[in-house]
Subunit: 218 residues, 2 copies
DNA sequence: TAACAATTGTGAATTGATTCACATTCATTT
DNA sequence: AAATGAATGTGAATCAATTCACAATTGTTA
């Protein structure tokens, strides 16, 4: 747990970069590297050494001057900060296009995010097994979420119904929601909501092709 | 086309917010709203009115003082900036979990991103049709990309092979790549590369649950 | 064991993004 | 046609993030 005083100061970007560091450290571990410098770490994710050091410094001092950071140890520490050295009980709502992909997405499992239950409103899907996971009736949301001790809910339903569903999820006491529907959802202050907007980056590319084509990049 | 002088100054965040504005404007259009104020626009995406006005001001003045912005007209203008009032020829490489989901993702088509061809290295998939789209042999990448006049390539292959594939894509002259593999890919200066890291937001939620649980959010 | 090379950790400086605040403009009402 | 109200567009001010630069520390070499 990080200190009370630092709680309000760590930026979203820093946390996202911790994810990148974690990823690189996993690779370095496989390559049997014992230590890594901020320089090397930065190079592998196209960042600056100073940025790496500053990011890590928010959480403590993990390195050795003159040597660098111990790969395994730093990976463990970042894992602790990000909560990746444990498992999370995740529920998925909506098993259409995106939902199906998420069920089979190995990267989630590898990081401890375990999809325990799937909800859908399609009677043909309810009761069946989707890659070994039970598909429950969205009507039993609250009951099932509690029984499965779900901590994080992933929303992969059409934008038109996402707000209704998220309202029910919130009522069921869930405090962390990942939303794949392309719509801004309203949740109470004490609920963490993150959005995964799959067309945003494609739109950025489109913008870049039209506007940044010649000359330097933005 | 935006002016030469402004080319180097528009931030990534501004472009991403344009995507949000575009989304809201589409909804407002359906609701038959004729005009919208920066206040309303901001409210719908949890931003500030000043932010909305500043973002738009980088590209021109689209509003009327005292009235607000004309919904249809502004949508068209942002569409022009983001390149959404046209179609893009997109190729998808890798039709596994994620790839399959992308093929069926309506949101892409709606915004003009047309998946024209799919590549895979699995002999069982090659030659077949995936939701009406031809699956080609990754071995014929360069030839097929050119024949289909592809402008944007989406990479949805395992992280371990992504760099090899992106090298080939670059050799084929593609200048815009969207990468779903959880790895940092190297591309030349003149190629636009964007990453879609699907676990990053989940990791942020995990972090939030552990570190920000009580008290205010970061 | 002293000198050297490498690299961290971090205040200070800088750069960048957001918000403020207000003059300006337009539509509407009286 | 003047007064009123609403809302833009934008320079200035503020806030936040990144980079700089260097003292401090450690391992290694002579």
């Amino acid at each position: 747990m990080i200190s009370e005083s630092s709680k309000r100061k760590i930026s979203e970007s820093t946390i996202h970069r911790l994810s990148l560091y974690y990823r690189v450290l996993s690779v370095l571990e496989k390559e049997n590297k014992e230590t890594v410098s901020s320089k090397e770490l930065a190079k592998r994710e196209k960042l600056t050494p100073a940025q790496v050091r500053k990011d890590l410094s928010f959480f403590g001092s993990f390195g050795t001057r003159g040597l660098g950071y111990p790969v395994m140890e730093l990976k463990r520490q970042i894992g602790d900060i990000l909560g990746l050295n444990r498992t999370w009980n995740v529920a998925l709502i909506g098993v259409g296009n995106i939902g199906s992909a998420l069920v089979g997405y190995k990267e989630f499992q590898r990081q401890g995010f375990q999809i325990r239950i799937i909800f859908d409103n399609d009677q043909r899907k309810i009761g069946s097994n989707h890659k070994g996971i039970q598909v429950a009736d969205i009507g039993n949301l609250e009951k099932e979420l509690k029984e499965s001790k779900i901590e994080i809910v992933v929303i992969a339903v059409p934008a038109t119904v996402a707000q209704y569903i998220v309202d029910d999820v919130v009522k069921a006491g869930i405090k962390a929601i990942l939303n794949f529907a392309p719509v801004n959802l309203k949740v109470p202050e004490d609920v963490f909501l993150r959005n995964e907007n799959m067309s945003m980056e494609l739109e950025y590319l489109s913008f870049a092709l039209i506007n940044l084509q010649n000359g330097k990049r933005a």
